[in-house]
Symmetry: C2
Subunit: 426 residues, 2 copies
């Protein structure tokens, strides 16, 4: 599929930690069998005979990671942004998601999604589909074809959902999930993995959660869901699960909150100290979705605090509560949201830095996939080459500044080339 060794040259930027960017101007990036061998100022003798692709003055960064995205919502991104979470789900989201029972519609919609994801700087994504098994498989086919490396979940919902988007029972939901997993195993995807996806506590009965844990253990699956996004949602979970200590505890009680299963929870805007501690203890990943949290008037997660306290944090586009698949914009939104939080709510945590935003968009989220999101030796080789020549400027700018501009106002036109797991997509 790829040469065993190949080498890129350019202005290489990557993170080892949230505090600083590693900027290596006109360096060599060596890929061996899909894995980063190293970054070198002068090419070591041993690679003298290997082919070098010279990207000249362009930037080379790790592929971006979208830790939370709803593929079926892509069709209505930018629409219906006038409601809070629960009303938005009932009014816009559930009706739209119900359309994916129709495979023709799913084909049409998911094709647009997969194409745009391919054309973006994202190389990895953790994706919600819908409750529909066949449409979920279709989405996985398209993502596999796109060349991205993704985890995709058939959604589970067996309560508090409209008739047209509700599985008949916990039993039926679990059975369908097992069938879906078996289907996926037959497909033998190379880059597309299943992830267990209870939508969120309000739409999953205790019985369903118990069954999902059985499935999780049997197939050793990771888990994704939503957590502490909106005050109304959190109150509802308290009513539904009076036995829970906090929202996250309602997942943890069923073994679907880290520890023995890799888990990512979207949002965590209102996580209290206990919930934060539990996420830390259990190694739960947080998918920070700043634009979504703004568009649905949810609030702003204290992501600076999460980073400083050493929790696992990545970025999510959260389409379609977020309007764009562009994770550079998610970085800018994360910085901007943190400033609003500092100014209007709580000045004990300063704004995010560019370094921190870049880190969570690459290595922070990438760790959910393993050694992903950096150019440190041993990392899987995901790389995006950025050509910012369209974004003209009159002065001299160093690589760091060029990256900042790309974060604030680049789009898909700046994506010059893209590699996932050592394979060149374009």
């Amino acid at each position: 599929m790829h040469e065993s060794i190949f080498i890129l040259r350019g202005n290489i930027v990557y993170s080892k930690n949230p505090e600083e960017l590693n900027i290596c101007e006109h360096h060599y990036l060596v890929c061996e069998n899909g894995i980063v061998k190293g970054v070198y100022e002068t090419l070591p003798e041993e690679f003298a005979s290997c082919s070098v692709t010279d990207y000249e003055d362009r930037l080379i960064i790790p592929g971006l990671v979208d830790l939370h995205v709803h593929a079926p919502q892509y069709a209505f991104r930018g629409l219906g942004m006038d409601l809070e979470l629960l009303d938005w789900l009932d009014t816009h989201t559930f009706p739209e998601e119900s359309k994916y029972e129709d495979l023709d519609y799913a084909q049409k919609a998911y094709t647009i999604f997969a194409e745009n994801m391919r054309n973006s700087a994202t190389t990895r994504a953790v994706v919600f589909a819908t409750i529909h098994r066949q449409a979920t498989l279709l989405l996985m086919d398209l993502l596999e074809k796109s060349g991205l490396n993704t985890m995709v979940g058939k959604v589970n919902m067996d309560r508090n959902s409209p008739d047209y988007l509700c599985e008949a029972s916990a039993e039926a939901s679990a059975l369908e999930t097992v069938e879906w997993i078996k289907d996926v195993m037959h497909k033998k995807y190379k880059h597309t993995k299943p992830i267990l996806t209870p939508r969120f506590t309000p739409s999953c009965s205790d019985e369903l959660m118990e069954k999902l844990k059985m499935i999780q253990m049997r197939y050793n699956l990771p888990v994704q869901s939503h957590l502490s996004e909106n005050p109304g949602e959190i109150e509802w979970v308290k009513e539904l699960c009076p036995w829970s200590e906090f929202y996250g505890d309602a997942y943890d009680r069923f073994g679907l909150f880290g520890v023995d299963c890799k888990t990512v929870m979207a949002h965590c805007v209102y996580s209290d100290d206990k919930e934060v501690q539990r996420m830390k203890d259990n190694g739960v990943f947080i998918a920070h979705c700043p634009e979504s949290n703004i568009n649905l008037s949810s609030g702003v997660a204290p992501v600076k605090k999460y980073i400083k306290e050493g929790l696992h944090v990545g970025l999510g586009s959260d389409l379609a509560a977020g309007s764009t698949e562009n994770i550079f914009q998610a970085m800018a939104h994360a910085i901007q949201a943190s400033k609003m939080r500092w100014r209007m709510l709580d000045d004990s945590w300063k704004a995010l830095t560019v370094e921190e935003a870049f880190y969570i968009a690459t290595k922070g989220g990438g760790e959910f996939f393993g050694k992903v999101g950096s150019f440190e030796p041993g990392y899987e080789f995901d790389a995006v080459i950025l050509d910012d020549s369209r974004l003209k400027y009159p002065q001299d700018l160093d690589v760091k500044k060029r990256l900042e501009r790309i974060i604030y106002f680049s789009d898909d036109r700046e994506i010059f080339a893209k590699y996932v797991e050592g394979e060149k997509l374009f």
Copy 2:
């Protein structure tokens, strides 16, 4: 320059007020001598012989209005977003603006700015230049050539500014301003007008303000400046003008705050009741710059309140504290910022609607130019034709929804054609 009558056909969208959008699918928009004659479902007999340009299923909207933009800052948009206003001015802005003494640099930088403004959906802009007379004229030449209709100001600064960007005295600043106005009169621009531009109270002495009022009256010029953007700035103004009742009063005392001179004040994040009342009484325009106010951690202006109370409100990109000239993005930012304000600071004012955001971006700001920003009969004919075919979707969408998507995630690729004052730019 243009045919005396021409007609466009397409999906016409415009505002008469902040409450609702006028959406006229497949209607005719008639322009006579650069002025809107009307919008018609079927073309009246009298125009039967006139040429019709059929833009088919595309959207036709009034040109967008950027009520506050710093042309010399365009070069560093997206950079240095880690400081608040006063430190940001000292660290990034003043050093960059000082470069415009060099006309070669100004030519290079302003050419990029003018080109990108031309390619945007903006047809009108109120622009800050720098203190440099020649560079300001050069900017005006370029904007005149761009076809946009703009007001441009040579900046006045005679105190609290670094040596390299400070005029020698109030006298020198005033003299240079008069020279600049005379130069502008000789240029006989068609679309480019001078606007008096005291940077803000901290950088203009009382003596300078007095002289500027004399110039304002003598040449009957409009005025632009900054108001109540940042808490530190407001405190400083109190120290500098202990005699002022509030920040805006420090302009009003010199006659540079509406009444007999058309005035636009950028920001108004922290205007108290007295200041708001004075702006209302004096007919002062507010340039709401949501992205700037977020990026510099200034806060969020209560723009919903300003609209509801009937003040004049427009939108500003405020480059380079804002990162983009795209006023659609400013609309989205305005809606998003209002949600954060509602959630985190003050829930007595609900979020802006799409209708309100579109209104302030068109007619709200356009009124600073006269009858501009709408397709009501008698309005100057500024129009932008939007082709959203790149932004694929699988479902049927009505024109309103297509406009919402354009607001949230279109870019210059969607700008299909553009007219200013009845002349076609492209």
